[in-house]
Amino acid sequence: MSIAISGLTFRYPGGAGVFGIDLDVAPGAFCAVIGPSGCGKTTLLQLIAGFLRPETGRIALSGVDVADVAPKDRNVGVVFQNYALFPHMTALENVAYPLKLRGVSAAERRERAGQALESARLSALADRRPNQLSGGQQQRVALARALVFRPRALLLDEPLSALDAAHRAAMRDEIRAVQREHGIATLHVTHDQEEALSIADVVAVMDAGRLLQLAPPRELYDRPVNRFVAGFVGHANLFDAKVAKGALETPVGPMRTLDPLPEDGATVTVLLRPEALEPIVEAHVREGVAAADGALVLMGAVTRDRFLGSLRRFDLAVAGGTILGETSSQAPILGVRVPPGAVRVLPPEA
């Protein structure tokens, strides 16, 4: 129940595609693939499902190379963005369909499909047609249908994008619970980075057909490999900086860091996550580097203040640039402290 991809390349006539993708999803693991639209994430899913044929590279499902296996024989469960339930079949018939194709007897498929619907809490709606079900219900039928034949892998193509915000979070947890229960290697394609971080064991970030980073959510957030990943995953302040005498010369001032630094004169990218900055609410704090802990103190004026319920995200105009910060405090903000622990140095870009 694993997915192993190596050197996978596919090119569309226009030149887009995916190029040299290496990606392993361990048995039972949940991998989210994120990236902007057109980055190749859906192409990757279609290659695994077999709807597209790769130019080069290898796809193995549970250790079996599926390069020459037709989509219908790959035994991969797919949940589509619009659910793709068959309109002329009831919920039960939809779920029973893959069993019917596999020659399972009528009695057994009724029983197994019935169980699948029961665990999705849809028994009462078994005889309804898709157009009589809500989006969330259709979603659960589609998920049950994709799992009822015990596939080797589960592929989810933006399955939550058609749901409203309230249902999305609940459905997210439900998908994860069902996936855990089945212990099935899962690839979840989404453009929603928050969804990816909250649901996945590992997250793959793609851009322009290439896989930029594959890491657990925490690591992806704390240690992005480059500017693109840092900017795409979560909110970020990104500055060009020059290394000088063990510190970082940035447009907003000198910063110290706990990260290892390259030699003097090197150019690097500095990442400050907004929530790692400490807002200053008392007046008459001195600007510059504080002697005590080496933090950079920046005073300025808030130019945008966004109320987001439990937290508040603000833009602070300081000398040399703008800083994005987050806080749960509702007091007026006069500046921020940038402690060395908040300053991340990204690896130099190739």
């Binding site: 499902a49 709807f51 219908k72 024989d73 068959f86 018939e93 369909y97 034949f149």
Partner: protein
Amino acid sequence: MPAVTAFYLLFLVAPILLLAVGSVGGTWTNTLLPDGFTTEWYRNVWEDGSFRRAFVVSLWVCLSTCIATAAIGLPLAYGIYGAARRGVKIAARLLYLMPVAAPPLVLGFGFILVFSTDELPFLGTPWLLVCGHVVLTLPYLMQTLVADMRHLQLDTLERAAESLGAGFVQRFFGIIVPSLRHSLASGLIMVAALSIGEFQLSNLIAGFLSRPYPVVLLQAFYGATGFACAATVILLALALISGAAAGVAGHGRVGVQGAHT
């Protein structure tokens, strides 16, 4: 707005009402309504051998046309919908819509030229009549089917079926055809109604013994008014009944297939 609608309805219904009245009326000359009630006209139509034969011919041609358009239209619409290249799609669309633009008179003249030759001596056979009706009605069925395929996002449904383990034949008869049952039924109703009422082409290419109802009906217009009214009302009823029958048949057939899981 309601006034316009009412006027339009009157415009639509009044001739039909007058026909119905005339078909059961006695003498009708230069008055708004005929005087007397009689079923004589219907009996006259019934007793007329050429009308009875035409009635049967029309039903037979209509049924054959429905079967043929469904058999040709479904795979053709599927092919056009699935065509990868945009250019191919547009070309195919223009091609199958051409009979709508070409006047049936032109088509009929072409048929006469081609099928009166020694190599293809089919002019006057009922089969040629069916072929002509298929050419004329296919665009309407195709249009309905292709629109429904787009609406259903049939390609995604097919991919879903494929990922669940269905081969092409299983997908075609298990997913594609039953998913399209509603549009197939409504398309066939249109085909049936058009075929029953078709006059222009039929008049040119039908043989004397295989004239469909509308062609024979024209003769009636030169006779008694009541007789013509009765014969026309029968045509109207025939068109409605065959349309409904095509709808029910299309519905029933695929309904049964979709039901047993």
